[in-house]
């Protein structure tokens, strides 16, 4: 897709999207989304991330116009209130998990569909379809039937079809979920390059944290119909707002700790601490824990060591019966049964308000 993505004919004015008090209750009384206020900046890629049933797809469908919010909720594109507009009048581009390509049309006809609906005159239509297919490196597939395409090719046609109409907002609903892992990585890079090249406002729904981290300018982590945290991938990863986010994103260790008289005690480590006395939980990422020969904060026995090439993932059972996961450099040589000491920089410790 490379630099051609900057082609002027596809450049769009970035439009911000704003949700005001949008909740969604389905006919059977199930609350899919608690009242939500959210602003997606113009040109930004916002990822909705969460487990299934967290409300991320419902939110996307509210923005798309495929669902309408409960009374009182409002959706804005820029300054325009689009709450009452059905999807066909919102000028959005949408990429579906199942692609939703029309089996009765070939690749070029699929891509041309939105232009035909908009009555773009034939010569211009053909030119824009050709340009789009060239940009997606699919010019040679123009005449193919949909059932002759691979999954990755279908996904590109779906992207091309959504983008060729120059939508105000591009909405992607788990677009890579149906693809195999290797293809997914490749397409993820392509989508990333494409979105940045176009500067279009994009909303991307996924349950895959890797995708979310790679693509999102900001990520909205959702759980049970609520927003758990909104922030940049770094915010979400390094400063999780609550236990759910901490556990959902990446791998997190819980360290057993006690607070007494303003001192936090973890193994042999003592830190000044503010907070109520008693047992508490502090968190640390596997890559922030070191295996060391001398002192260390905790001592334990290796129960699993898996060599992953770039790193070795070691699971260490410590005294109180909990296990701590450590990402050590690839060249670390430890074996099951070894006694190791664990150390870490106190600045890398995370504590969370006890909400869960």
């Amino acid at each position: 897709m490379s630099a051609t993505a900057k082609s002027d004919s596809f450049r769009v004015e970035p439009v911000p999207v704003r949700l005001e008090g949008c909740s969604k209750t389905f006919g059977n009384g199930a609350r899919a989304l608690e009242p939500l206020d959210l602003t997606i900046r113009g040109g930004e890629t916002m990822v909705f991330l969460g487990p299934s049933g967290c409300g991320k797809t419902t939110t996307l469908r509210l923005i798309a116009g495929l669902e309408s919010p409960d009374p009182g909720g409002r959706v804005f594109f820029g300054d325009e209130d689009v709450t009452r507009l059905p999807i066909e009048r919102r000028n959005v581009g949408m990429v579906f998990q199942s692609y939703a390509l029309f089996p009765n049309m070939n690749v070029a006809q699929n891509v041309a569909y939105g232009l035909r609906v908009r009555s773009v005159e034939r010569r211009q239509r053909d030119r824009r379809v050709d340009e789009m297919l060239a940009m997606m490196q699919m010019a040679d597939l123009a005449g193919r039937r949909i059932d002759q395409l691979s999954g990755g090719q279908r996904q590109r046609v779906a992207l091309a079809r959504a983008l060729v109409v120059r939508p105000r907002v591009l909405l992607l609903d788990e677009p890579l979920t149906a693809l195999d892992a290797k293809l997914r990585d490749g397409l993820r890079l392509e989508i990333d390059r494409l979105l940045r090249g176009l500067g279009i406002t994009a909303v991307y729904v996924t349950h895959d944290q890797g995708e979310a981290m790679a693509l999102g300018d900001r990520i909205t982590v959702m759980a049970r119909g609520r927003v758990a945290q909104i922030g940049t991938p770094q915010d979400i990863y390094f400063r999780p707002a609550d236990a759910f986010v901490a556990e959902f994103i990446g791998t997190m260790n819980r360290l057993p700790a006690r607070v007494d008289d303003g001192i936090l005690q973890i193994g042999s480590l003592q830190l000044p601490w503010q907070g109520p006395a008693g047992t508490t939980t502090v968190l640390i990422r596997p890559e922030d824990v070191r295996l060391q020969d001398d002192d260390g904060v905790l001592t334990g026995m290796v129960s699993v060591a898996v060599f992953l090439g770039d790193r070795t993932r070691v699971v260490v059972d410590v005294a109180d019966g909990s296990s701590i996961i450590v990402d050590a450099p690839g060249r670390t040589s430890v074996a099951r049964g070894d006694t190791v000491r664990l150390g870490f920089d106190p600045a890398r410790l995370l504590s969370l308000p006890d909400r869960s």
């Binding site: 579906f96 089996p103 609906v117 059932d147």
Partner: protein
């Protein structure tokens, strides 16, 4: 089934299958032959002739035309009623639509005679309507509509119509445009299969029609029954021959469509 090692079981089965086929096919062949035989009681030795076929065409062309007319009118009605009905049933799945789906089978499950009697009891008083071919048409539509709805519904449920429509809507297409540009083309195999089924069933329908018809408005199968009951067996057989000429292409097409539908999955 590796070649060369076919045991007695294989040959026994083959012989049995052929015997059954022979039993099924011979009456048809004999009947067709009777239609072109000079004198059935003498046998095929009496000579081959198209005389009976011509006679049937002369006397019964009205019934043949009426049958074809009713079949296509019936097709038009079931398309106009059945396709939208199937669409609604497929898009709004719930308790109510399931009930409707079940109810749709009723005309098939109830004997045609009963349906016909019900129609006569209810509408028999409207003399002009009772006497016109439209009365038969109503019966045929009642009888064939479920087949159309089922055929279309099966295809609609297999293509994830909802998502296709959402895709079209996201590209700016309103309902009418979506329906004709995306929904209908992608349901074509079902519509085609349903159409052939309806035409075939309507042309061959006897139960209902026998009660619904008037002496001036006979369809092909009713005429056929008359011919066998009151005329030379050669004429009845020639009539059957004509019926086959009309119905067999429909059946062959139906098979072809069904196969193509299965092949594209």
């Amino acid at each position: 089934m590796a070649g060369g090692s076919r045991g007695p079981a294989f040959w026994g089965q083959l012989a049995f299958t052929l015997l059954v086929c022979l039993m099924l096919v011979s009456p048809i062949v004999l009947s067709l032959l009777a239609g072109v035989t000079q004198n059935y009681f003498v046998g095929i030795r009496s000579g081959v002739t198209l005389r009976w076929v011509e006679e049937v065409l002369r006397t019964y062309s009205g019934t043949i035309l009426l049958s074809v007319q009713i079949a296509f009118a019936c097709l038009a009605c079931t398309l106009l009623l059945g396709v939208p009905a199937a669409y609604v049933l497929s898009r709004h799945q719930g308790r109510a639509t399931r009930l409707v789906e079940e109810l749709l089978v009723m005309p098939v499950a109830i004997p045609g005679l009963a349906t016909a009697l019900a129609l006569i009891i209810t509408y028999g008083g409207f003399g002009d309507f009772r006497r016109s071919w439209l009365f038969i048409l109503v019966g045929h539509v009642l009888f064939t509509l479920p087949f159309m709805v089922r055929a279309v519904l099966a295809v609609m449920n297999s293509v994830d119509l909802a998502t296709l429509e959402e895709g079209a809507a996201s590209l700016g297409a309103g309902f009418v445009r979506r329906f004709f540009g995306v929904v209908l083309p992608n349901c074509m195999p079902g519509i085609l299969a349903g159409s052939l089924m309806v035409v075939t069933l309507s042309i061959g329908e006897f139960n209902l029609t026998w009660l619904l018809h008037t002496p001036l408005g006979k369809t092909l199968p009713v005429g056929l029954a008359d011919a066998y009951a009151s005329l030379r067996i050669e004429i009845g057989s020639a009539y059957t021959l004509i019926f086959f000429v009309i119905i067999i292409p429909c059946l062959v097409l139906m098979q072809a469509v069904a196969r193509r539908g299965a092949g594209s999955k």
